[in-house]
């Protein structure tokens, strides 16, 4: 695994990803090996089936939505850059980053971007609005007839 990773990921790429997402060198390398282990087709991209092969995701109620979040609009494959970009939303915010980044765009793990990600989880049809149905779908499906009945006092 390790040798394959180093040959397929060049230093410049690592630098770019580092600048864009803020991950450290070792983190990027480790995540790359994870990426390749998920990529059964060995074509450098992940498809939805690759994600669904992770067993724990199958039992996660939000699994599908998270998988969808990795794939940009309309596409079915995600490459390593996209993979890292999505994962970067979850990096902890560090104080010193606020000063360092003077470029136009905010870092990927800023509060706004995190919130955007969470918003997109609800907004299934990607119309930038959360409809009532979309919200209701988030609540878990249970036996409503049983749960929402109380014996009123006579």
């Amino acid at each position: 695994m390790g040798s394959r990773a180093s040959t397929l990921l060049r230093e410049e790429e690592i630098e770019e990803i580092k600048k864009e997402t803020g991950f450290s060198h070792s983190q990027i390398t480790r995540l790359y090996s994870r990426f390749t282990s998920l990529d059964k087709g060995e074509n450098g991209t992940l498809s939805r089936e690759d994600f669904q092969r992770i067993p724990e995701l199958a039992i996660n109620p939000l699994g599908d939505r998270i998988i969808n979040a990795f794939f940009p609009e309309g596409e079915d494959q995600v490459n390593f850059r996209g993979f890292m970009r999505t994962l970067a939303h979850f990096r902890p915010i560090e104080d010193n980053e606020k000063n360092k980044n003077s470029s136009a765009s905010e870092p990927l793990n800023s509060r706004t971007n995190k919130l955007l990600f969470a918003f997109r989880l609800y907004d299934l049809d990607r119309d930038d609005k959360i409809s009532r149905d979309e919200l209701l779908q988030v609540l878990e499906k249970v036996d409503v007839e049983q749960k929402m009945s109380i014996r009123f006092l006579h």
Partner: protein, 833 residues
């Protein structure tokens, strides 16, 4: 709370209290003299009619009397909220204890009552820890477990070692004068004074509502450090006995190993007992009346078992509580769950009160006070300083790994919150005086440290927290959508961890949750509970219950259920509740608020977010009639009388009324009375006068279907006819006949008479079998008919003028014709008793 009134009450109560205590000491003095007399041989000269057998009941009497005194003391203290908001209750209790100690000392010249280690460790401490474990917010606890463990283990060891060594150093330096304590004894003393005390922490932090992370760090540490304390104490105790020479590497290694064994063993014992309780409650469906008792019994057993195996008893009972809470809440009947909650609170609070009271009393004892200024002052100083150093250092290390670092203010409060309490005192009392010559000095010093932390630090804690602007606990519970959102985030984090292939915090938690759901719940929870276990709707259910209770309480308070039918009614819950209940309910459990709505029912000042809108414009003018109406409504529809009566006849079943029987009974009685009055009209007996129609008839309509038939009646009976007081009515029964006793209180003069609820005057009473069973078949036909009759109003002219416009009458002629089959009822007893 009216100020002047409370002052009078306060004075009166404190007088009562002092008398009680004087009585106790006097009685105790007398008992001593009694025993002298008794020793002279028991020769009696004649038969005593009444004798004063004090020695017979002495021990239990004194125990219960002290519990009473503690309770009254707490009552007196709590009556003054303006004092307790400044000085924490524990400090006040200690002061009251001083007072009592002084009284007893004056009476007896020695301290007859003091806190002995046995009583403390076996009878007073377990319930407090069980309460702490049972109400522990599990999620918060386990997510901060790493930090808590660091503080508990490393922090306590550091405290013990540093205090012991520094004191020894000062001793060598000559700061303490001439006392006979060696290095090992210093270390022993250090170990017993190092432990942060859970009782004191709860007592002080209760007034100050700090944010939950801070609270759980200090509190969790105080619970878990018992494992360390026990080990250190025993190890050093053994070292002291062995003497300095025999200590070598082997012994030290044995000490370290014993730490792991004691700590994990204690937790394991607690865990096993927790599982046992869950298993037991799974099968207790038939003995629901006593299933609440199992927790206490098994909890206490876990404590004693761990103590027997020389493992950490506090850890054991704490983990027992932590493990079983979820399954108990799922398995047991709702009433049992509430019972357990309240009884645990009673025990824990009672124990805490007694502990602090006796901590004060035990101080007034000349024998234990050996004053050595250097020792005492240095101890207090070192305890405080080393706590601060330890906490700051450890949190600095922790912050490197924490996602949300602990702020400086929080760390200050953490170090300030390291309170010592009764556990240290108990351990000090357990020292062997033969091995440790200066036991009394140590006891005295321990007491001083305890007083310093509890009283001084307790008093200054709240101002310090406010001054430092420490983040406080959020006043309101988070809304439902926030809880759902939190869950969404949890799932999201787990998914990302899975994708990125790392075993993180969330991954572990999720794995545990699945394991627990799959295997443990299957094993430990009742099948019915498993199916219903969904958190979102549990929350909804709780909120609904709370709303329903508030609704009824508000209705009763306002004296009428008028606003039920007024759709535009609006009651400002917030205003009324906030004013009324904020004072009335002492915040016993505020800082223990945890999952969902479980505790908010104890906090009446939070208003449910789902509130009902009812407006009360119309009630003012009709208040009196409303009251009468309400009384009657409540009599009719809340079935108070029957409920009160039922449980007297069965100790094992506390069943709520089975509705079918009641409905049957009502039908039966309704039919009977209807029949008799109908018969009387038919036979030409003087027609009963019509009653004044009450304008609010239509509220009958709103009553749910099960009872509407009984409401659908004529009110032919007049006030005069049934004019007797409530008690008389009840006495109309022949109790010896063994028929069902009906103690429904009846208020005459109410606007609407419901003949169903007239006490049964006719000689139907002497029947042996409850009427509804005997006439079941007959009644079923009448019942069925009356329901059918309900759908169509009978249009006989004679009925019309008696009926209210909307009342559904079942007095169709058909039903009465057909109902001629039951034995003709006796003429209605119009004459009163």
């Amino acid at each position: 709370m009216k100020r002047c009134g409370s002052v009078h009450l306060w004075l009166w109560r404190s007088v009562v209290l002092i008398c009680l205590v004087l009585g106790v000491s006097a009685v105790n003095g007398e008992s001593k003299s009694d025993t002298h007399h008794h020793g002279n041989g028991s020769s009696i000269t004649g038969i005593p009619i009444v004798s004063f057998k004090w020695h017979h009941v002495e021990t239990p009497y004194l125990i219960v009397l002290w519990i009473l005194v503690a309770g009254v003391a707490k009552m007196v203290i709590e009556a003054n909220h303006h004092v307790t908001s400044v000085i924490p209750e524990s400090a006040l209790l200690i002061c009251v204890g001083f007072l009592f100690g002084g009284i007893i000392w004056g009476a007896d010249q020695k301290q007859t009552f003091s806190l002995t280690p046995t009583v403390f460790f076996f009878y007073l401490l377990p319930q407090i820890i069980l309460d702490a474990g049972y109400f522990m917010p599990n999620k918060l606890f386990f997510s901060n477990l790493g930090g808590i463990l660091i503080h508990a283990v490393i922090g306590t060891c550091w405290n013990a070692a540093s205090v012991g060594l520094s004191l020894w150093g000062c001793h060598q330096g000559g700061a303490m004068g001439d006392i006979d304590i060696g290095l090992l004894q210093y270390l022993l003393f250090g170990s017993l004074i190092a432990a942060v005390d859970p009782v004191a922490v709860i007592a002080v932090f209760e007034e100050v509502h700090v944010n939950e992370v801070l609270f759980i760090m200090v509190f969790g540490e105080s619970l878990l450090n018992d494992g360390v304390t026990v080990v250190l104490f025993n190890v050093f105790d053994a070292f002291v006995s062995l003497g300095g020479e025999k200590i070598n590497a082997v012994e030290i290694i044995k000490g370290i190993i014993s730490f792991f064994v004691v700590a994990f063993g204690g937790s394991l014992v607690g865990f096993v007992f927790g599982l046992l309780i869950s298993l037991l409650t799974r099968c207790t469906k038939n003995i629901q009346i006593i299933e609440a008792g199992f927790i206490f019994v098994l909890g206490y057993l876990s404590y004693l078992t761990a103590e027997m195996l020389s493992l950490s008893a506090i850890l054991s009972i704490a983990f027992c509580g932590i493990c079983c809470q979820k399954y108990i809440n799922a398995n047991m009947d709702e009433k049992s769950v509430i019972t357990v909650k309240y009884v645990m609170k009673v025990f824990a609070n009672g124990s805490e009160t007694i502990i602090f009271l006796f901590l004060g009393i035990s101080a007034i004892d000349k024998t234990i006070w050996v004053w050595n200024t250097g020792f005492i002052l240095l101890t207090v100083f070192f305890v405080f300083v080393y706590r601060c150093i330890g906490v700051f250092f450890l949190t600095w290390i922790q912050n490197k790994f924490r996602l949300v670092p602990l702020e400086v203010m929080d760390r200050i409060i953490m170090s300030y919150g390291g309170l010592r309490g009764a556990v240290a005192y108990g351990l000090a009392m357990m020292l062997d005086e033969n091995k440790i010559k200066e036991k009394n000095l140590m006891i005295g010093t321990t007491l001083i440290v305890v007083y310093f932390t509890v009283i001084l630090q307790g008093i200054t804690m709240k101002p310090l927290v406010t001054w430092l602007k420490v983040k406080r606990a959020s006043a309101n519970e988070i809304t439902l959508i926030e809880k759902v959102q939190n869950k969404v985030f949890d799932h999201m984090l787990v998914a990302i961890e899975d994708i990125s292939g790392q075993i993180g915090h969330n991954y572990m938690r999720d794995k545990w949750k699945h394991f627990e759901e799959k295997w443990m719940s299957w094993f430990l929870m009742k099948p019915s509970a498993r199916k219903k276990h969904d958190l979102v709707f549990d929350v909804f259910h709780q909120l609904n219950l709370k709303d329903a209770m508030n609704y009824v309480a508000e209705g009763e308070r306002r004296g009428s259920l008028e606003f039920i039918r007024n759709e535009t009614a609006f009651i400002d819950f917030k205003k009324k509740f906030a004013d009324e209940y904020s004072e009335a309910m002492p915040d016993i459990t505020v800082d223990m608020s945890d999952s969902y709505a479980a505790h908010s029912s104890m906090r009446r000042d939070t208003v449910p977010s789902i509130s009902l809108e009812l407006h009360d414009q119309n009630t003012n003018g009709l208040r009196e009639t409303e009251d009468i109406n309400t009384h009657h409504l409540l009599q009719q529809h809340l079935y108070k009388g029957r409920k009160q009566h039922r449980h007297k006849y069965s100790r094992s079943h506390f069943t709520v009324n089975q509705d079918e029987n009641e409905v049957q009974e009502i039908f039966q009685r309704t039919m009977r009375t209807r029949l008799e009055s109908f018969k009387s009209t038919k036979m030409g007996v003087a027609p009963p006068k019509t009653i004044t129609k009450h304008p609010k008839k239509d509220q009958q309509q709103k009553m749910p279907n099960g009872k509407s038939t009984d409401n659908g009646k004529y009110c032919h009976c007049d006030d005069d006819d049934f004019e007797f007081s409530g008690d008389d009515g009840a006495s109309g029964y022949d109790p010896s006949a063994g028929s069902f006793p009906m103690r429904v209180t009846y208020r005459p003069g109410a606007g609407i008479e419901n003949p169903v609820f007239m006490p049964d005057l006719d000689p139907m009473a002497p029947m042996q079998i409850p009427p509804w069973l005997a006439e079941a078949e007959l009644d079923s036909s009448t019942v069925a008919l009356s329901q059918r009759a309900q759908t169509g109003l009978p249009w006989t002219p004679s009925n019309l003028q008696r009926l209210a416009p909307l009342r559904i009458s079942t007095r169709s002629t058909d039903s009465f014709m057909m109902a001629d089959t039951p034995p003709p009822p006796p003429p209605p007893a119009k004459d009163t008793k």
